[in-house]
Structure formats: C-alpha cells, structure tokens
Amino acid sequence: MDPAAPVPGPEAKAEVAGTPAPPALSPPARAPRYGALGRSGAFAGGGRSGLVWYVFVGPAFLLLLLFVGYPTFETFRQSLYEQVGTRQKFAGLTQYTQLVHGGDLWHALWNTALLGFAYLVIVIPLAVVLASLLNKVRHGSAPLKVIYFLPQLTSSVAVAIIFNYVFEPDWGLLNGTLHRFHITSTPLWLADPRLGFTGSRAAVTVLAVWAGLGYFMLIVLAGLQSIPVDLYEAAAMDGANPILIWRAITLPSLRPTFVFLIVTGAFDAMSRFGDLWTLGGPGGSPAGSLQSIVVFLFQTGFESGNMNRAAAVAVILFCLMLFVTFASFKTVLASEFGGRRRAR
C-alpha cells in the first residue's frame, strides 16, 4: 500500500463529483498544504472517518478470521458430525456420548491431571526456595540464573531425547549413578507403567521439573524483587525473626505470583504434548501411562483417522481451559478487590 495515496473519504467523493466542498468542511487553506500526503490520513486520529486505520487492521483481521475464527467454528461443527462412507452426516452429540461412555477420554484426562498436579506440587516450592536463595546472592547470580534457565530454552522434544537416555535402566545417567553408590536394584523408570515414585509418570515429572524450574524461578525472583525493601526493614526494626518475616511479608506478597504460576502451569500441563509424544508415541506407551489429553486428541484424529471424534475431544479441551481461565480470573479479582490491597 502506497503511504502517500489519499484514502477516499466523504470529502474525496465530493471533490471527484466536481462540487467544491463547503468551506466549513474543508477549509481551502488546508488542501494545498497537505496535498499529496493524504488529508484523511493526516487527520484520521482527530475524529475524521479514519479509513486508513482499516488498512492497518484489515489484513491482520482477515488472517485471523481465516486461521483462527474459521477453524474454531469448524471444530465445533465437525464435532457434531460423523463420517458415513465418504460423506459427513449430522450426528448430534453422538461423538460426545461415545467419548464419555468410553474409558479412553477419562484415562487421558486423569493422566493429564495427575502429571500436571505432580509437576506443580514439586516445581513451585522448589522454585520458591531456590529463587529466595538466588535473591540473596550479591555477586555472580547472573551465570547461575542462565544455567537454571538453559533447559527452558531447549525444546520439549530435545529434553525428551536426552532424558530417554538419562532414564535408560541399564546404563542411563540416573541408574548408572545409583550403581556407582552400589545400589543394585535400580528402577525401570520409563519402562515401568505402574503408578509410583519409580515409574514412567515419575520419570516424566522429573523431566518436566528439570525443564521448567528455570522459568518458575525467574517469575518468583521477579515477584520477590517487587516487594518493597522498607517492609523488611520495618519488620527487622520491630525485631521480627527471619521465619516470621518470611511468613508475614514474603509469602503474602507473592500471592499474585503464585496465582500466575498455577494458572500458566495448569495451561502448560493441559497442552503438554512434545515430550510425552517423543517418549511414548501416540499411544502414550508404556501401557498408555504417558497419554495426555492432547496426545489422545492426536491419536484419535491422526492415527485412528476419526477427525469428528478428535474435534469433540478438542471442544472438551477448550471447555476445560475456558473453565480454568474463568476460575483464575475469579481468584485474581477476588484477591484484588475482596481482600486487603497488597503493596506491589
């Protein structure tokens, strides 16, 4: 789009028609001054028609309609159909009822919730402890920060490839280190589908904590540094001990940080795919123990080829995420307006 091209507005039309515009609408002095630069453009911010703004927004909006709006609508529509022979036939809620009555959806949802819960319960306290320590370091905290953050910059696929070897039962880094300490009965890790502290779910939780810790630490650190120093100095002058200070000042001040981390962590857990797919494939092997909801969605649509069933899974996932969004909004709003206001 040529920036200098005049954008046709009501006035331009009047001129094309050959009738000079009345002075009140278009003072004659203005036309020669702005001439080629485009009048409506020059004054669009000031309350004129402002058609130039549609050039700014229009292409992006069309892309959004095509690649976000249309597919989202289609997901909902396709979830109400079924494939009969070569054509699509309206099926009402059949896909949903079959999903709800089958066990696979529940298995995937249970796995997703379990893995997400275990991950957050470990990573958040660990990040708070390490970030509190990092916050106290006076010199040389930058390299430490980078090291903790490194796995975060590695793709989930690459992390999974590394940990596939770390958890190798015979010679992997973890079991090999245990051998070094003369522990002979080492766990099978990724090859063991059972629920427990030495099975495949525990292994992928360790992997996720290793990969995500740096991000959580970074956010907690930012939260810690936003607590005003005077609060601590006032408490120290009143003779409060460090544990009391931590409980009475640090933890309450970090509340918004915790809400943020739990919400983003929950979203991450719900859309977890790359590492689980790399380690367990579409079936979430061993024995489906690594099948999250997105892996199940992928398996339904692209391995079993049932796009309509997969669309129904996608709608269910969407509703769950929407629920988390609204629940977190409510929590955030309640903490902002319900309780006492926090110094930030």
């Binding site: 703004w53 690649f67 996932l317």
Partner: protein
C-alpha cells in the same frame, strides 16, 4: 546513626559465611541442571558408546573423537533441517512483529468505527488454544494445497492476539503529542508508524521476537501434522522422528541430539539478557 543503617551494616557483617553457603547450595543445583547436557556431549564423543555403554556413567570418554558427528551428519540432512527451521522462524517472526505492531498502533492511537469490537475480537483469540483449532486448520491447509510445505508452518502464525495486545499496551504509553505533532507537520499515518512509532517500540518488539522465536523453533505438534516430506523437516521435528531411529547407536544418537541442541543454546546464552527480560516482560512461557 539511624537504625536502618545499623541493620544494613549488621547484614553485611554476617553475610560472608551465609553468602558462601547460599552460593554453594545454588551451585550444586546448577550442576544437577548441567549434568544431563554434559553427559550427552561426553557420550556423543565416544565411539565405544555405539558398541556398549559403560555401566558406570562417565562424563569424558576414554576415546574422544568426532566420529559420531560425521556419521550423524551423513545419516541425516541436519543442515537441511537447520535451513528449514531458520526460514520458518525468520519469516513467521518477521510477519508476526509487523502485524502485531500495525494492529497495536491502530488500536492504541487510531479512532475508527468498530475499534472496540475489533479489539475484543483480537483478544478473544487468546482464549482459543491452538489444539482446539488444529484439525480444521490441517484440513484447510490440505484444501489450499499448502500442506507438506514450509509456508504451512508460517502463514497460520503471522497474526496473534497476544502480539496485538502487547504492542497496543506498549504503544499506548507513547505520548499523543509526539504523534499529533507529526500529523500537523503533514506526515501520513504510515510515515508516522515507520519513522516514529516503530523505532520507539524496539524493547517491546525484541521481547515479542524472543517469545515468537522460542515458540516457533520448539513447536513439534503442528509440523508433525502438516509435514511428511523429510526434506521439509525442521530441527525439532527431525529430532522427534530420528532421535529414536539411531537408538542402537547411542553415540550417534546423542551426537545428533547435540547438533540439534547445542548451537541453539549457544545463541541463546549470548542473547540471554534479552531473552530473560523478554520472557519476564511477556510473562509467558517460551
């Protein structure tokens, strides 16, 4: 002498021992974080690792050589994967930044009919997870004959509600007077956008670029759906497919992983200040 000053001084006095303890604990943690990387690189340099892995892990092989790397580069078109990834990440990030800035400017400083409702429409896309729309998106790519091509990895990600929102928030802080003055001087909105607004937005654009590069580089779900031709694999997709197929040759497999991971890590370490501030600013995971 003030009480606050006394607290600060007493803190300094007790600090040396506690500093040592704190840095010690954090360093042990940092070693644990680095160990998998170090072990991967060490094993990738070992020819013995392809025959039998030592039962006790070692960080440095007895027979260091780059043999596994030459095998890895012969087995897989890793250079090709890197080229594809760079094209996809570069093109999609350039487009994403341009469209985010254009729409952000319009929503922050423009006055036009439907501004509110259009902005809400952009924001609404934030609550639609990609997994929800990927199946029809895949079918759409097939219909417009873009599947199995690099543009399929680029065009769906040119516009996003997050970029528009971030840029609108940032551009709102630019004083109106600056823009108004340019308008009075006769500058068109496009001239103002490219000459005044964009240069002022560099910190926000850098943050957005960091996030988008991480998202696109690390994405595997979408490439997995639309790409089947091995010549079009990105680094991440190639690693996901081929990381296992070298499985019996552990040394070669880990050399492949090292080639896929380490150059990217080096770039990120060089840019770490930018990246860390970008991620904190966006408040969004990479």
């Amino acid at each position: 002498m003030s009480a606050v000053g006394w607290i600060r001084r007493s803190r300094r006095r007790t600090s040396f021992v506690s500093q040592l303890a704190i840095v010690g604990v954090l360093s042990i943690g940092a070693l644990v974080m680095l160990l998998p990387f170090a072990w991967m690189i060490g094993t990738s340099l070992s020819r013995q690792a392809d025959i039998a892995m030592p039962r006790l892990p070692r960080l440095w092989p007895p027979d260091p050589s780059f043999f596994n790397y030459s095998v890895a580069l012969q087995n897989l078109p890793l250079v090709r994967y890197y080229t594809n990834s760079l094209i996809v990440v570069g093109a999609s990030t350039a487009g994403y930044l341009l469209f985010s800035a254009l729409t952000g400017y319009a929503f922050a400083k423009g006055r036009f009919r439907g501004r509110q409702i259009l902005f809400v429409a952009f924001l609404m896309t934030l609550i639609i997870p990609f997994e929800t729309r990927m199946i029809p998106l895949y079918l759409l790519m097939k219909d417009i004959h873009l599947n199995d091509s690099l543009p399929a990895l680029i065009v769906p990600f040119l516009v996003g509600g997050f970029g528009t929102f971030l840029m609108r928030q940032y551009i709102s802080t630019i004083p109106d007077d600056l823009i108004q003055a340019a308008r009075v001087d006769g500058a068109s909105e496009f001239l103002i956008f490219f000459r005044i607004v964009l240069p002022l937005c560099m910190p926000a654009l850098a943050a957005l670029a960091v996030l988008n590069i991480l998202w696109r580089w690390n994405d595997v779900l979408w490439p997995l759906l639309v790409i089947s031709d091995p010549n079009k694999y990105t680094v991440t997709l190639g690693l996901a497919f081929e990381g296992h197929s070298q499985g019996t040759y552990t040394g070669v497999a880990l050399a492949t992983a090292t080639i896929a991971i380490v150059p990217v890590l080096i770039v990120f370490v060089i840019l770490q200040r930018r990246i860390i501030s970008g991620i904190t600013m966006g408040g969004v995971k990479g």
